[in-house]
Symmetry: C2
């Protein structure tokens, strides 16, 4: 079985040898999304290498410690796009040692191919099988197909530890080059239009490496009291909205952000009463909460670009892969997060953030406007193009010392034009059709923590004195953040 | 000829009679975009009426004085979406007398149909001809088809002053309801997939009114010295980029924002050397600059949702309508501004704004973060979905007293994730692949006015002391605005 994963006649290299083909200031375009399906042996070999690297590392989404810890601690990374989720890389970015710019997930492949980000470079991808001009990705697709087309060279890591059946989830469709891109022919959120492998120009292949190093499994924390309240409010709101809107006459399509809150919210959907409508997931990652819904017969299909599961979820999936492969599809990230498809299918978006201001602008990425956390990820793709974009977050942080509803956010990832509804453990504010003063009052009354309602009302009153459409008081707009 | 514009047997009403069917707090969903093609007789009759109206007025884009001056001065408007461009409505909004929320153009039709904005109401549309279950729009399409589907009632104003040949520009395709929306079958930016009329349920029709009141023509100011310098920098940049990028191997697709600067920039494209590549316009409005390019044989086709021409441009168009109708297409605004189509065709976006901050966030709408100007319009649709989003603006305002490059913008319409390149009369900053400090330095060196470079550098230095990914100094971030 193992031997068959690499086509006859293809030489297998040691990772320590293949890194000789990577120059000190090269660009690495690496597979991986949701911290799975990324290369492991080559990054570790680079981290151990004596050469003085100053690499640019571009991934589709988040990757593991082999890259964002080991390579960073070896001081081998100079520049990093578009997302990261590990303390060592985050600290290097915030200290100015690593150059970073977070980007929307859906367009990253185009940015690499057409000139927004460094082109050329070496694609380093994890595969479960490979031939002379094809390979099959492992637990995520991400931007791998676009990276392979754009790179000058290709290194494939065949990971023997990934069950071969993972190939059954893949649906890899290739977007054309504008202006001849053409319409994406997907008409069903759970449908298939592609194949399970990525093709490449054989001349690019500079080495195939073997490994059996596993992805680190996700560890979801138990839902907090606040998570459960947010989930209950969200469920009631969605039940009313699904009943009301012509968009949901036949089915409910929904996306949830990645993480423990998103996972808990998914779980709560199992109890929602959608009156026999089909529930369909169209998002970025498959998390454990979705497996529960599939097991309970409550979810018709799930489309994503990554399998970000706990150890237990991983085991469940591969114990019954025949059944799950009927309902789960993994696509490239430019399709899982496609503006055209999110709009076409009318996908409800549920994402979290650091904070939201009184007028509906959202900060997802930068603590105090300056220190980056992970990156905007796919939240921009879903919030902008969803007909119903829901922001779900606790009303406070730091044990209540910080209000997540603030006068003005010091960094904007999603504007007032993008967010429709805000849910906290306090309640729901439906901002649609509101003007800014109405938005502020709804957020204060329905979403802010009681301890912060009066200071927020004071801020709003000061702004209204100066009488503009958005009644900010610029003298004190950032004082909550500046005084932290 | 005139008589044939209204199908036999359809009674014609006086505007003063038909307004009896509009209740005091009704929602009016009106045709119009780019200040043309909006109803005139019915709004004027409402403004003259003795009843005490508190209307909600929703348009596809900007409309004329009959609505945003006369109706507003008659105190008949309580609420207004999503865009306006006349001082009386603007003042009422900033004084808090009229509730307003500006929205992205592309999704407004969906927001009306599926619950983001008030539903039901009365559609009031301008037509050049009408029957019992169809009408043909005049000089703009805007969101008219979506409004007519959503409204409970319909009033048609047949405007006898609009040349009947305008129908030859129309291509009206109807988007389906998600999740069965399906791919839009347009594969050529200048192609046609629809018909020239809008169908409606005959039971909705409550009256047909006749008028011969004309749209007010656009008056473009002469290009300033700064306009010409911006145009020259933009032209050189685009020549290099078109030569470099695989996106433009066969043709150049481009959009320009509405207004005198946009019109001047379009004109400058006539001199650009694109090495025999076809030039194609895919945007919101047809302005005079595009007619010049068509006349000179430099433009292959132009797709928009409105004919926003000067008197002279209007005359030129209708003197040779046969020729122009071959190359000009007017579509509904949910197609002219469609995220899927802007991406599919790889349209370069060129839009202006009030100001941009050192880290690439853009304020298009709110002076000092509080007083709204016109609205975000279609700039968000194009900036987000273009593979090359260019912000073109003068480096200063108010005769040099205000820098349009600022430490932090107090209102964000377009985030750092959306803008690729900034052009001022000083030069060009290509922000792609930059991290925030690099963006700040490029904007200071290449785009800021020399008088403001030192204070901007001082601000950046203060931020860098505090050492975050985006090095803001929150104590002084808004001081330039707060002290105005």
């Amino acid at each position: 079985m193992t031997a068959e994963r690499i086509q006859d006649g293809i030489p297998i290299h040691a990772a320590t040898d293949v890194v000789r083909e990577i120059s000190a200031d090269d660009t690495l375009l690496i597979s991986g999304f949701g911290s799975v399906g990324y290369p492991k042996a080559v990054p570790l070999a680079l981290a151990d290498d004596e050469a003085d690297y100053s690499l640019t590392v571009v991934s589709g989404g988040s990757v593991g410690a082999e890259i964002d810890v080991s390579l960073v601690e070896a001081d081998a990374v100079d520049r990093r796009f578009p997302y990261q989720a590990r303390p060592p890389i985050r600290e290097s970015i915030n200290d100015g040692a690593v150059a970073f710019h977070d980007r929307n997930i859906s367009t990253l492949g185009d940015e690499v191919r057409y000139g927004g980000l460094p082109d050329g470079g070496v694609a380093v991808v994890e595969a479960l099988a490979a031939g002379s001009d094809w390979f099959i990705p492992t637990t995520s697709i991400g931007q791998t197909p676009a990276f392979v087309r754009s790179a000058d060279k290709l290194i494939i890591e065949v990971n023997q530890s990934v069950p071969e059946e993972v190939r059954r989830f893949h649906d890899i469709y290739r977007l054309g080059t504008p202006p001849n891109r053409g319409p994406v022919p997907l008409t069903d959120p759970g449908g298939r239009i592609g194949k399970n492998s990525v093709s490449f120009d054989p001349e690019k292949l500079i080495g195939v490496v073997q490994t059996d190093r596993r992805d680190q499994p996700y560890a979801f924390r138990d839902p907090t009291e606040a998570d459960r309240s947010i989930a209950a409010h969200l469920r009631s709101f969605l039940e009313r909205e699904v009943e009301r809107s012509p968009l949901f006459e036949e089915s409910v399509r929904i996306q949830f952000g990645v993480g423990s809150l998103g996972n808990a919210l998914m779980g709560a959907l199992g109890d929602a009463d959608f009156d026999d409508r089909e529930l369909i997931y169209f998002g970025e990652v498959i998390q454990d909460g979705l497996l529960d819904l599939l097991d309970d017969g409550k979810l018709a299909s799930a489309s994503a670009t990554s399998l970000a599961l706990s150890s237990e979820g991983h085991e469940r999936l591969f114990e019954d892969v025949d059944r799950y492969a009927e309902d789960i599809v993994l696509r490239p990230a430019d399709l899982s997060n496609s503006p055209a498809l999110i709009d076409r299918f009318g996908v409800i978006a549920v994402n979290s953030a650091l904070e939201v201001d009184l007028f509906g602008h959202v900060n997802s990425t930068h603590l105090n406007g300056t220190r980056v956390m992970n990156g905007v990820g796919g939240s921009g793709d879903f919030n902008r193009h969803s007909p119903l974009a829901v922001l779900a977050l606790p009303s406070v942080a730091a044990d209540g010392d910080i209000s997540r509803i603030t006068p003005m956010v010091p960094h904007v990832d999603h504007t007032e034009h993008d967010i429709d509804v805000v849910v906290t453990e306090q309640g729901v504010a439906d901002l649609r059709g509101n003007e800014p003063r109405e938005t502020a009052r709804d957020l204060i009354e329905s979403c802010a923590h009681p301890d912060y309602r009066e200071p927020l009302e004071d801020y709003l009153a000061r702004g209204i004195e100066s009488n503009g459409h958005i009644p900010h008081d610029l003298d004190t707009a950032l004082s909550w953040h500046a005084n932290r």
